[in-house]
Symmetry: D2
Subunit: 349 residues, 4 copies
């Protein structure tokens, strides 16, 4: 099969690097163009990027000459790893010029016709792009890293028992802040009970993701109350979240666990290349899940859940862990692109 050429916008940053790492041997997509800021444009990738991934820079990318983030690229599919300070306008320029933009940035997540997608949760929302006024172009967004694990774990419960309210307190990894991100003096032997802008994202994004697509190609937000508290801890990768949930109908713990471990959705049915075989795992050991042990489950694409127990204030409490830069960022965005492909949205590319 001939692979589909794609471009990465914001290729030199840490999310951009993770895209390259994950796409270096992808069965569907081939990275043909790398774009970044004016400062980097014109340079070879190896010279412009301070490669911080744990695997070495794939040789095939090292010598690619970086382009500017302007809609004159050859690849019609672009992954955006742009910083939120510039993503809004650039992504819109690309969409207007007919490009399919799949973005990890937060800027367009609440645009009325822009879908905010977790492929296992709301693949039906992809229909929204038909309502976009971009002449064949489109913008599709990936949620915030801490939202994805939460909603992935909650979706089967919402489907089966109806969620009324959600309380979540996170212990988030440093890689979530990008590179250079947190100074080491701030986090070694320390935890920080604040992450700028994170709590509102966790309190609002789930409402759109779990909402109902209406006939205007927009989403009627779910009617769920959410409270989030976000902390940074001295962990490289993997966001751990302590979740409490109140349900319309309280099931038994066994029923909840069965919902999780049997959950399959569109990506599994379509057998998408990056889809985990099983999106949600449940661990019965009290000390699990843990970032160091479970973040790489199913190549970092599955959610690890554990410690389900009764809660005196809500119905249940439990812990969920996901890999924040794989499932929670670049990997999640790539899975959206695979879904788009499988559902025929990239047919003409």
């Amino acid at each position: 099969m001939k692979k589909i050429g794609v471009a990465i916008l914001g290729a030199t940053g840490s999310v951009g690097q993770k895209f390259l790492e994950l796409l270096s041997e992808h069965p569907l997509f081939e990275v043909r163009e790398l774009a970044a800021s004016e400062k980097s444009a014109g340079k070879k990738y190896r010279d412009a990027a301070n490669w911080v991934m744990q695997k070495s820079l794939p040789g095939s990318f090292a010598d690619i000459k970086i382009k500017e983030c302007r809609p004159n690229l050859d690849s019609k599919i672009v992954f955006s790893a742009l910083d939120a300070s510039v993503a809004g306008e650039i992504e819109e320029d690309f969409a207007k010029a007919g490009y399919i933009v799949i973005s990890n940035a937060r800027n367009h997540r609440y645009d009325p016709n822009v879908p905010l997608i977790i492929p296992e949760v709301n693949s039906d929302h992809l229909e929204m792009i038909k309502f976009q006024k971009y002449n064949g172009g489109a913008i599709i967004t990936n949620p915030n890293c801490s939202t994805i694990g939460l909603v992935l774990a909650l979706k089967p419960l919402h489907d089966n028992f109806g969620i009324e309210s959600i309380n979540v307190v996170t212990l988030q990894a440093i890689s979530g802040a990008g590179y250079p991100g947190l100074p080491s003096m701030d986090i070694i032997d320390n935890s920080i009970p604040f992450i700028g802008g994170e709590e509102p994202k966790m309190e609002n994004e789930p409402l759109k993701i779990l909402g109902q697509l209406n006939s205007d190609g927009q989403v009627d937000f779910a009617n769920i109350k959410i409270s989030a508290q976000c902390n940074r801890v001295a962990v490289n990768d993997g966001h751990l979240e302590c979740v409490q949930v109140k349900l319309k109908n309280k099931p038994s713990a066994e029923e909840v666990i069965n919902c999780w471990i049997n959950y399959k959705a569109e990506p599994q049915k379509l057998n998408l290349p990056s889809a985990p075989k099983q999106p949600i795992y449940y661990f019965h050991e009290e000390k699990y899940p843990q970032p160091k042990i479970h973040r790489n489950l199913e190549s970092g694409m599955a959610a690890a859940v554990g410690r389900l127990r009764d809660c005196s204030l809500f119905d249940y409490k439990f812990v969920v862990l996901t890999h924040n830069t794989v499932r929670g960022a670049a990997g999640g965005t790539i899975l959206i692109a695979e879904l788009l492909y499988a559902k025929g949205y990239l047919a003409n590319e």
Copy 2:
């Protein structure tokens, strides 16, 4: 003034060591006897203890010969740093023999006439020891390390606005597990969402501490619903707690903060040597409090609070931090002893 001689039970462990560190230049108490397990008894302290405190072993203790934990000690005041596996019986033996036992162990915390004391919160509960059947001896207990910070921060709110329910998620330091405690392979680049026995302690101890002393010398537990989730993080000292609270009467945020910063209680009024001048501090910077920066506030005896904000599920959420081995263990126990002294309970010693 002649100092009061005291003994330490369980002197070789990490809590015992912290007692020695904090009592090495204490104005009221002088450590005259060190007791530990049979294995250590008979040895010099320097040979029996693997000293793990950050300050050097005070020379005056190094050559003390360790005694067994039997009620034949000269000092009538004993601080218990015993492990819960043996504390129950030994502490009772000492009390029966007429000793005043001030304990950091969990064993007797729920005994009907045994007070569970945070000196700033329920100093009136000390009266309970008059109802103990120990012929002049007594047992007084210190709460769990994660309970102390929580209740210290909540007490002024309970007094002023009435607490209905409490939700708490902790990020606890490794020193809370004692020494050797957690293997380093388990916690470097990791968080662990489970601490054995900790959640029930946090859900129950506050009810006794905030309860009402009745005429039988027992406590009518407070009528508050509490849910706790406890996590271990890669921090040396300092427990950080994300708290949510529902109040009978919701005050303004300003009122809440004023309650905290103006709070003074018995230890401050009595000017006890280990009492913080101000027991609760409020920090307005969003990124505060943090273990590394605030754990040593007022020599580790004050609570640092921050991030007060509205909560969509409760009334307010906020963050509290306390030093778990000082305020949350040995320092808190010593403060109880100072309170006992100031209120005349140690008058004859």
Copy 3:
């Protein structure tokens, strides 16, 4: 091809677990028996072992019933992950009973006819086992984890320029101490300038490994002076070593680097399954090599070298990094077994 059945002695410890992780899909060897202490014998592996590897316990091992470490096993090839406190006698018992024992323990490393092998360095020393008096059984040993990286990097220099003296200072990972190993309170925000027994190993083992096999089936130790200083640092995996070397003939830096990157030895020529394609990599970036970035090079089996520069006291100084539990322990031992197989020593099994 039918796989060769092997047994693991000391299967429940952290080195034993690493053997299982690395052998779970091995093309030549199949783990058929697990043996451990009396305490574990009779239990299922999943119940006896506290699994601490980052990948989940392979299901095929979970239900194996653990045997005792007695020479009545069916598998004639045994990998020893035994603790040094018991390895000496047990390994000898197995050898006497005709088993081929490939050991990671230190006990027999200096026995006159026991080879101490790094497959890329002294595969010719395997001949020594013909001189062992074990009736078909044999003991072959793997060096200490910090020795392996050092000697791997030095071998090409010794062959080409003759080494006169070696100075080495290490920064060693916590996994080198096994599990539970170092208490977290000892190493978070700390370094420890002492590792029991480690310095003598580094000062002596290289002399045997780089020595000459003589006609008695013994090794004439190399005539090299070595001084080692060993430190423990807060790193999960990967030993970093600062090396200085004095050579008989000082080459140019370019010649040294070429020696390294072109080095191929028996395992590469025989294309052994666990052999790195390239055993030694050189990184030109000044900040490389680093444990977090390079420890998994070639699945953890290659040495990463960098920072070659002139030294005013020796000829050259440089830095070498190897994965201590893979190349430096279980992986190195497995490579020895593959070498034994390829050279016909396991022909009859």
Copy 4:
């Protein structure tokens, strides 16, 4: 006594903050002026500085209005915490204008008449300032943080036994890189075998410090060969150094230790306020010294030495630890100022 007013140049950075922390209750000096870059000038200190010290910002400094780094300050004594990119010129401007500049920056360390001072080592070099052509102004410099611990430990050996060569490999704390310094992603679960510019400093500065003052007011450098290798580790504070030394006359280990523990120099004789009572401690436990345990020895001003043992390549090897931001930076600079005062160089201020 009326205190001497001083100014801090570069007051907002992490070294500047440490100056403020250490000088907040100093018996001789009072910080009257804070100067920083144009960007900060005119603002209140609390608004311009991102305070990263572990103790809270002393209130007395919070409202001081920051001035520019121009020689129009009232205080005639200035401590320079300037970045090396600007320190050279600014410090010279101040000296020319008659100010006494005591600098932690590297720029003037090798100027012919500028002394490079460790008060316990070469207080006689202060005489050099009489040869400076600054009309009453002067520049005095403090060595690099990793140099100070090394030379402090070596001085008594050099005086008594004559040093021929020194080999040193460091494990340096992250605070040495200032703030923000190292990104956390670079150092958690990692070590980095390179610190820009550090090795040449360690190989050269000791030669000037241990050199002989000649009649031109310059220093004849010591004739010692030094090789240094510098590593960064995940430790907050405290540089650990593995040292090897060759001496003209090899003493017994006991003699070496006695030299260390009995060492007293000018700061001890003059009883300077920041001087440690004992500048060098020797610890006999094999696992000592350690950053977490010994960095605060004598308020961070003493060197902790341990592990003295024979070396097959040099005469002795040992380990030395000092607090890099106290003894190795601001604290060391303040001690120089106290020495200047005690020796009458600040008499007219």
